[in-house]
């Protein structure tokens, strides 16, 4: 797979994740106790031995660039190849084709013959090698990665594929197969498509779709593993809580395919005498003196004595005051919950508290 260049386009339809995306792009939204969304696709690429990876970001990228650094934590701090980040204005206008065009120099100079393009913020742990092997052996110009889905589910674009992996149709009729917006394509073909179509189309997906029966041969590759796309608060919440199911947890955190993330120096979590804790995922650096149940705690959360956290997601460095109660809440980073008060979301609508807010009543 050292013959494949990886391109990670950060999906910028961020409205659904507001307010988590107020100060960051979707790719850097914290997820699963100690990761950011981008870690899953980036680690999948690294574990598939892709060693030259370009991340295209928008301008709201300070938090993402800070997270990625020089790529060291993904073993991508290299003199040859490694991690490259592109911040483009074009992309803000959400034309990923323009963004690719602005990086055409980089594509041309790279030594790899194939390109893997990922356009979505997926939570998954994919080995891309089988996709590559099928693509190289087939006569397809583009191979698109698909997943099984409910017929009427609209999370992933409908794909119709025949028994020989030929894609018959994209995005027209309902289907029980969905596109993951992951494409394997030869570099020369990609450069060709970009230069031919950059003025006509805004999205590479559209170029493929509209030309697929003309001069682009498209095949599909069905991915059988765990994958989810996160584009609303509800999905964010549900996908997070899903991980408390050990089967799903194990599918995402396979033994041999480590998910890498930016490492921080935090001690192991300390549980006090007064703590009780059930069915929860917890990162390092927490201090737990209260009760935590069906919840996800990120790094450095302090749960004080008597506090009760249920069915909630509590991000880095939140402080939960004594006897405070949380249920179906999502607390962004560094939220301060004052003692004694109660905060509830609902199953249909988990409640989000934005970064650095203080909530509760001051009692003197």
């Amino acid at each position: 797979m050292n013959n494949v260049l990886g391109i990670l386009h950060v999906d910028e339809k961020t409205q659904g994740l507001h307010p988590l995306t107020k100060h960051r792009c979707t790719a850097s939204v914290p997820f699963a106790s100690r990761y950011r969304m981008i870690d899953f696709m980036l680690s999948s690429m690294v574990n598939s031995n892709i060693q030259n990876i370009a991340v295209f970001t928008t301008l709201n990228n300070r938090s993402l660039l800070d997270h990625l650094g020089d790529g060291k934590d993904w073993d991508l701090d290299r003199k040859q190849d490694g991690l490259f980040t592109f911040s483009t204005n074009h992309f803000k206008e959400s034309s990923n084709l323009k963004a690719l065009q602005s990086a055409i120099d980089y594509l041309e100079k790279s030594s790899q013959e194939y390109v893997l393009i990922c356009l979505s913020n997926l939570v998954t742990n994919i080995d891309f090698r089988p996709l590559y092997n099928q693509h190289v052996k087939s006569d397809a110009d583009v191979t698109v990665m698909c997943t099984a889905k409910e017929h009427n589910d609209t999370l992933f674009t409908n794909i119709e594929m025949d028994d020989f992996q030929n894609i018959m149709d994209i995005d027209r009729k309902q289907s029980n197969m969905g596109s993951l917006d992951i494409y394997m394509i030869s570099k020369s073909k990609l450069i060709d498509l970009i230069s031919t179509h950059a003025f006509k189309y805004r999205y590479i997906q559209d170029v493929i779709r509209h030309n697929m029966n003309k001069n682009i041969k498209v095949k599909g590759f069905k991915y059988e593993g765990y994958v989810t796309k996160i584009n609303t608060i509800k999905r964010y919440y549900d996908s997070s809580i899903d991980l408390l199911d050990p089967t799903k947890f194990k599918q995402l955190f396979k033994d041999n395919n480590e998910i890498y993330t930016k490492l921080k120096d935090e001690p192991p979590t300390t549980f006090h005498n007064t703590s009780s804790i059930k069915n929860s995922l917890i990162a390092n650096g927490c201090i737990v003196e209260g009760h935590v149940e069906n919840s996800i705690l990120f790094r450095g959360v302090h749960v004080n004595k008597g506090a009760v956290i249920k069915n909630s997601i509590v991000m880095q460095k939140c402080m939960i005051g004594e006897y405070a109660q949380l249920d179906r809440m999502i607390l962004d980073k560094e939220v301060n919950v004052l003692p004694n008060d109660r905060f509830l979301g609902t199953e249909k609508k988990p409640r989000v508290v934005p970064k650095k807010k203080t909530i509760g009543t001051f009692v003197i």
């Binding site: 890498y260 192991p268 979590t269 300390t270 804790i277």
Partner: protein, 382 residues
């Protein structure tokens, strides 16, 4: 600009034979500690937090894991362009190879290393101790007292004085006498194995001692010689937690001290202990688990009961099991309905279902690959 006011020399070559099989494959400073760390993290973090950016680490015994762990010191911010962390194993010269014969000899063999920084002071520390200390404060005291050497001391219980090097000082903390493991101690101030020497003085004694004696040790040779010559030896009283983790019992105790509010707190932000991060998924605490008064690392799964224990990263405790007053090192799996009390479980162990390990009193057991299962797993019957 290449000059450094003070260079640290960290003695990390000891075999740690009293730790038994824990140090069969790794040097004592690389022994896991505190749910995530290795013992040497404490002294390295102390250096880094004290602003000391040049640290020579003297290795000799089973250094493979230690060397790989240390690298160029990046985790401790010691990957510096000038100075930084340098590993100093024994080596061969034109005249042949020489192993380090003792603590002072290890420094003697690396005089060239030290001289390239032309330091005024040399800090001698050891990778065997658990403590948080600002060495710059000790250096200030050393300068103020115009001492030739300053030795950091801490009071130990009178009944344990016979395990330590004891300093007898006058009212100004000038050291009058040094007794190695005395039976009738005159003081309970023990040397912590932390020395600041004026480099030119130390160098003279190193060169001198090399010719005269065979043991080549700071405590046995250098300090007594300096006392005899009426050098200025100053004690520096350290207040705070300090522990020599040279035995299974003391290693066990120091780990549990993390839980018992006796002055060793890893959550303090202003004196962070740093380490090589293992990168593990979050820990999972199951629906029927009970976790109390314990530390648990990332990547661990707890389905049973944990009480007053330290679980490192990637430890699995299955349902129905109890872990109490125990230290469980990384990559260890504990089966169902197993009871573990008052012991240290080594790295990568697989403890079967339904056994009972450990005694309610007596010495702490070490369970590792070389443990005889029949003996250890029935020990509760005694």
């Amino acid at each position: 600009m290449n000059r450094k006011e003070m260079v640290a020399m960290l003695l990390a070559g000891g075999e740690g034979s009293r730790l038994g099989n824990l140090t069969k494959w790794i040097a004592k400073p690389a022994v896991p500690f505190g749910g995530k760390y290795r013992i040497i993290d404490f002294t390295l973090s102390n250096c880094s937090n004290s602003g000391i950016d040049t640290v020579g680490v003297l290795t000799q015994y089973q250094p493979l894991i230690l060397h790989s762990y240390l690298g160029v010191g990046t985790p401790w911010d010691l990957n510096r362009k000038r100075g930084g962390l340098k590993i100093l194993p024994p080596f061969v010269q034109k005249e042949g190879g020489r192993w380090y014969k003792g603590t002072a000899n290890a420094i003697y063999e690396n005089i060239t290393f030290i001289e390239q920084y032309d330091p005024e002071y040399v800090l001698i520390i050891s990778g065997d101790h658990i403590y948080k200390m600002d060495y710059t404060k000790m250096l200030d005291s050393h300068k103020k007292n115009n001492a030739d050497v300053t030795i950091s001391v801490t009071p130990v219980p009178w009944e344990e004085t016979s395990r330590f090097g004891i300093m007898n000082t006058d009212e100004n903390l000038k050291i009058q006498e040094f007794e190695e493991k005395p039976t009738n101690p005159k003081s309970n101030l023990a040397s912590m194995g932390v020395y600041i020497f004026n480099w030119h003085t130390l160098k003279r004694y190193l060169l001198d001692n090399e010719k005269k004696t065979l043991s080549n040790d700071f405590g046995k040779d250098i300090i007594p010689a300096m006392l005899k010559d009426h050098c200025s030896l100053q004690a520096y009283p350290f207040e705070g937690y300090w522990k020599d983790v040279g035995t299974i019992d003391s290693l066990w105790q120091a780990n549990l001290d993390l839980l018992d509010d006796v002055g060793l707190n890893l959550h303090e932000c202003n004196w962070r202990i740093r380490s090589v991060e293992p990168n593990m998924p979050p820990q999972y605490i199951g629906s029927d688990a009970i976790v109390r008064n314990s530390m648990v690392g990332e990547g661990s799964t707890v389905m049973g009961e944990i009480n007053h224990s330290i679980l490192f990263y990637d430890v699995q405790v299955n349902s129905g099991s109890l872990v109490e007053d125990a230290i469980v090192m990384p990559h260890t799996k504990i089966g169902k309905n197993t009871t573990i009390r008052r012991c240290i479980i080594g790295e990568g162990m697989i403890i079967p279902d339904g056994v009972t390990i450990g005694n309610k009193e007596g010495p702490i057991q070490l369970i590792d690959q070389s443990t005889n299962p029949e003996q250890a797993y029935n020990s509760s019957a005694n």
